[in-house]
């Protein structure tokens, strides 16, 4: 694909913003030991309700909370630093996919804790689409640690 610098800069900005969003969510959860996804999962709706309600089970909710927090931070760090960004994008898509399916904006379902009005499409789905773009259009080699590694490789070749 032909790389247009304007597009590259735009996608890089998108990557940094999404990374920022994920990292902040993860950090806030990390520093608040009282935080739990229990209420969010227990109030799940739609076709996958039973799966999410099961995740709220007392015996595994601790793991679910920790995994969610770690995954958020992983996505945040990879996207912000521009390293393993494809992995980060995939993890982000997975997380958002679960958020979307646990409280899907389907007609007939009550929308809990949402600002704005949605029908099938909500901000989670849009962020998923943005992450798909980041997956197919990596920018770490332009702005990110990949850039350093690339330089490294180039310099090695020169030796």
């Amino acid at each position: 694909m032909e790389k247009n610098p304007k597009i590259e800069i735009s996608v890089t900005i998108l990557r940094v913003l999404i990374g920022w969003h994920f990292l902040y969510e993860g950090i806030v959860k990390m520093y608040n030991p009282d935080w739990t996804a229990f209420g969010y999962l227990a109030s799940a709706q739609g076709p996958f309700k039973s799966i999410f309600t099961a995740m709220a089970n007392e015996s595994i909710i601790g793991w679910v909370d920790t995994l969610n927090m770690v995954a958020l931070i992983v996505v945040g760090v990879t996207l912000l630093l521009g390293i393993f960004e494809k992995v980060g994008a995939l993890v982000g898509i997975g997380l958002l996919g679960m958020y979307y399916l646990s409280h899907p904006p389907f007609p007939g379902l009550t929308q809990l804790n949402v600002e704005g009005n949605y029908w099938l499409v909500n901000k989670n789905l849009i962020e998923i689409a943005a992450l798909v773009l980041l997956f197919y259009f990596p920018t770490g080699h332009k702005f990110g640690i990949k850039n350093v590694r690339k330089q490294n490789l180039v310099s090695n070749e020169m030796d």
Binding site: L23, I27, Y31, D34, F143, N152
Partner: protein, 538 residues
């Protein structure tokens, strides 16, 4: 290799952003938590622990149920005995609404060491239902045609009384005098004179006596007591508590069963000391609507709210009571009011003060009820320093004019609109209740409490406490002192409504101050409005 500054910026530019976001998230979260724990440390509220009672060991307690109607069946379930009909109904309910936890809760309920050995109901259909449902090889159950026969049988250790109100005291007194333990539904008595007689019988008896105010087992009320004792609210000058119901069940218009007839119901025994009228199905099933058998809003529902607050504050009998209201929502032949306001005065009571000594003293307890609207008005305790909403959940807001929190309010650490404390023992247990009436009881913390996040029927805990006291001795949480206070307060409210007068309590002699020419018990029992200055309801 050689890096330009440009390369470095492009390579590591993400790092400072990462650091900034990390720092912002951490500092905001930690700061918020610090502010919260500063407030909590200052309040130092101790959430109450689940009640621990010694086990009910040895031979099972042989319990007899007197009155196997709606409440009687509920009480038996709390003892661990459900009718086959109820179990079938609940299975259907669960199919319709998987969130309905009634059956699951019942199945998970701890088994009490009880033998349900006798039933006494004057309606054949109900007595036979109990025999059919509970009679097994492990649990032999017998029907008694009168309560005296049951109590004298020597085969019953304890009775649960769930009859119309006019039978509560006569049965309880008879049981206590014969050394049989008593669990009696509220209101404890139907008249003023009975209240003294029952107190005497309970004091003179070895048997364990408890009044069925099961909400005394609700965990949040213990926490509320700690909150009040620590002066969190300051001086509480007003309590506002309410009844709001707007359905047939809530208005005591219960189902009139086809099986009822003069041959299946011992009508004479139902009437007892009540006015002798011919067989009347309406009166039999919907007895709460007439003073002859029931006690109206003041005895039926005010007692819940009064005892809830008496459990938290221990304020005792009001020094005076004034009531008003009428039959405004269900003009269907009933003579107990369906809209009622009761103001109870406690001029010498205080929950403590954060201001100069002597400035604050006295409190009004304001009960407001309608059976014609179901809007939920919560119970609110209004103090100089804060406001508390009391139910299964507790919420406390600081008051804008508080003395105790003045500095914190000024520094912006507290704000009048933002709760400073919330207690929700059931936070992890979403509830589903099936009817409007059960929602009414659930909101008030009257139906269940939470132990380790699990829903537990408070009537079960109340029964367990009673049975444990029977086996092991010890105090019950709603004994004769609490029951006496509840009954007198309710009768004062009923009298005030009927007479259109202020009713006063003499704390020295522990009697209701007499009013010339008035016999209080005649007034209470009368199906007529006694007052002449107001509308006539008959």
């Amino acid at each position: 290799m050689k890096w330009t500054r440009r390369d470095l910026l492009k390579g590591l530019g993400g790092l400072p952003i990462l650091g900034a976001v990390w720092w912002a998230g951490a500092s905001t979260t930690v700061g918020k938590r610090r502010a919260r724990s500063a407030i909590l440390e200052q309040l130092n509220i101790q959430p109450s622990l689940p009640p621990a009672v010694p086990g009910i060991s040895g031979d099972p307690v042989r319990v007899g149920i007197i009155g196997f109607g709606i409440r009687g069946e509920q009480l038996c379930r709390s003892l661990g005995f459900a009718t086959k009909e109820w179990t079938e109904d609940m299975k259907l309910e669960v199919q319709e609404n998987p969130n309905n936890k009634g059956l699951e809760d019942f199945m998970n309920q701890e088994k009490l060491n009880v033998h349900l050995a006798g039933v006494c109901d004057i309606f054949d259909y109900r007595a036979e239902k109990a025999l059919r449902s509970f009679g097994t090889d492990d649990n032999k159950i017998k029907r008694y045609s009168t309560y005296q026969e049951m109590i004298n049988s020597g085969e019953i250790d304890a009775v649960v009384i769930a009859t119309p109100d006019h039978w509560h005291a006569p049965m309880a007194i008879y049981a206590l005098n014969n050394g049989v333990h008593v669990y009696v539904e509220k209101p404890m008595t139907h008249t003023v004179a009975e209240t003294y007689e029952l107190r005497k019988a309970a004091q003179n008896s070895e048997a364990v006596f408890i009044v069925g105010h099961q909400h005394r087992q609700t965990l949040s009320f213990g926490t509320a007591r700690d909150i009040i004792n620590k002066g969190t609210l300051g001086h509480v000058s007003l309590i506002q508590t309410n009844t709001n119901r707007n359905d047939d069940n809530g208005a005591w218009n219960y189902e009139i069963m086809e099986e009822a007839s003069p041959t299946t119901i011992d009508w004479q025994q139902f009437l007892g000391s009540a006015p002798q009228i011919p067989f009347n199905k309406n009166h039999f099933f919907r007895w709460r609507k007439w003073w002859a058998y029931g006690s109206g809003l003041s005895g039926d529902l005010l007692t819940h709210d009064y005892d809830r607050l008496n459990c938290v504050l221990n304020m005792g009998i009001p020094e005076s009571v004034m009531a008003s209201g009428g039959v405004y929502a269900h003009n269907d032949g009933r003579n107990v009011p369906d809209v009622m306001q009761v103001n109870m005065e406690f001029p010498n009571f205080s929950t403590g003060s954060s201001q100069v000594k002597g400035k604050e003293k006295g409190m009004t307890f304001c009960y407001s009820a309608t059976l014609g609207n179901g809007f939920n008005r919560p119970t609110i305790l209004m103090g100089h320093d804060g406001t508390m909403e009391l139910g299964n959940r507790l919420t406390i807001w600081p008051d804008g004019g508080s003395t105790r929190y003045a500095t914190m309010l000024e520094e912006g650490k507290m704000s009048p609109g933002v709760p400073i404390y919330q207690y929700n023992p059931g936070a992890n247990s979403p509830d589903a209740v099936s009817s409007a009436t059960s929602q009414y009881f659930a909101d008030k913390g009257l139906m269940w409490t939470y132990i380790d996040g699990k829903r537990v029927d408070s009537t079960f805990l109340h029964m367990r406490e009673w049975l444990s006291a029977i086996k092991n001795g010890g105090k019950v949480s709603c004994g004769i002192k609490e029951g006496f206070e509840e009954a007198i307060a309710a009768h004062m409210a009923g009298l005030s409504w009927k007479l259109g007068k202020r009713i006063e309590w003499d704390t020295q002699t522990e009697t209701i101050k007499p009013i010339e020419g008035i016999n209080f018990d005649e007034v209470l029992l009368s199906n007529e409005m006694v007052r002449t200055d107001f509308i006539r309801v008959s």
